[in-house]
Amino acid sequence: MARGKIKRKGTSIDMTAMCDVAFLLLSFFILTAKFKSAEAVQITTPHSVSNKPADASSDAFIVEIDKNGLVYIELSDSGIRSNVIDKMAQIKAVQFPAALKSRFIAAEMIGTPFASLPQYLQMSPDDQKKVTLPGIPVDSTGGELRDWITAGLQAYDNDTKAIHFIIKGDNAAKYPVIDDVLKAFKKNEVYKYRLLTVPTGVPVGSELFKKTAQNGGKQEAAE
């Protein structure tokens, strides 16, 4: 009896669909990647085992301290900036030029004494990049930073829950400046703030390590 011929099947699979998927994924990842915006001031924050997300995007009042001990302020919510500058002008009892207000709102950070702020804002963006920011004056009574914090608080109707005070300090910043910044907060009766850090692993075998292991991998909310 003649046996039926077994039809040989090709082992090659059509790769087109797979290729499509691969490149679709690739383009998706590339397009959704968020690029880190270039920072005006380079700050390397210290490491800590804390694992609370910073959520620095909304309503954050960030006090930045660079390695030379200069202090800057960054207001993450541009909507609040006009309010803040109004309050600040009120505190300083001066009239802030109305023409410069839009420039203030557009500015990413405050890094000059209040008196020279109009002068700085008048410069073209290219010139602004060239000048080195002198920083906000701080001293043992808080300096001008104290007034900015007051203005920030007032802009948020003194609601300490709505505004997030974050301190972003450089590794090499000296303690006296940190102390001055803390004093500026203290003068405003702000006692709780957050320090921005880069997360790092909990050392194996340490007390915290044992504790988190017991709690099922959750760090206790320490106050």
């Binding site: 690739l26 800590s48 303690y175 203290k186 320090l195 007390e207």
Partner: protein
Amino acid sequence: MAELDTSSGGGHKKGPGVKKAKKLSTKVDLTPMVDLGFLLITFFLFATTLNEPTTMNLAMPKDDVKDQDLTKIKESGALTIVMGKSNQVYYYLGMDPTKLQSTTYTQLRSVILNKKQTTPADDLFITIKPDKDATYENVVNVLDEMTIDDIHKYSMDNANDVEALVVQKTEEANGIK
């Protein structure tokens, strides 16, 4: 999809002298391309650092506390950590700053744990005193150490004159600039 219709349309019959044109397959093997695609995806996934910053909560006390509100510390349970310049760290037990001892940030943990084990939990109180030459990194490191060692009672203060002097003398003796 990625094929073109190469079959010659129409029933055009070739003559005996006409050579049969060799039909080239337009099918391209896409396997290497898929490989490349996934390789790129993997590369980008691994090369991306998820730098979501985290924060450490810090609560400082009010300055204008009345005497009766002040935290009373037992001498037997007191440990003071003083941070000096060039990443030097010192500590002393009890209330006498002249008994200052040098240590390093890596050894600090064993110092704290030693104290923790030998002191009743309620008595232990750690005071963190950054000197004027201490850096922000030092401060955060020590605060982090409190979290790591599960210490609940600690405070941060400025180094007083005696401590500053002792640290200065120690630094001079050790030749630390």
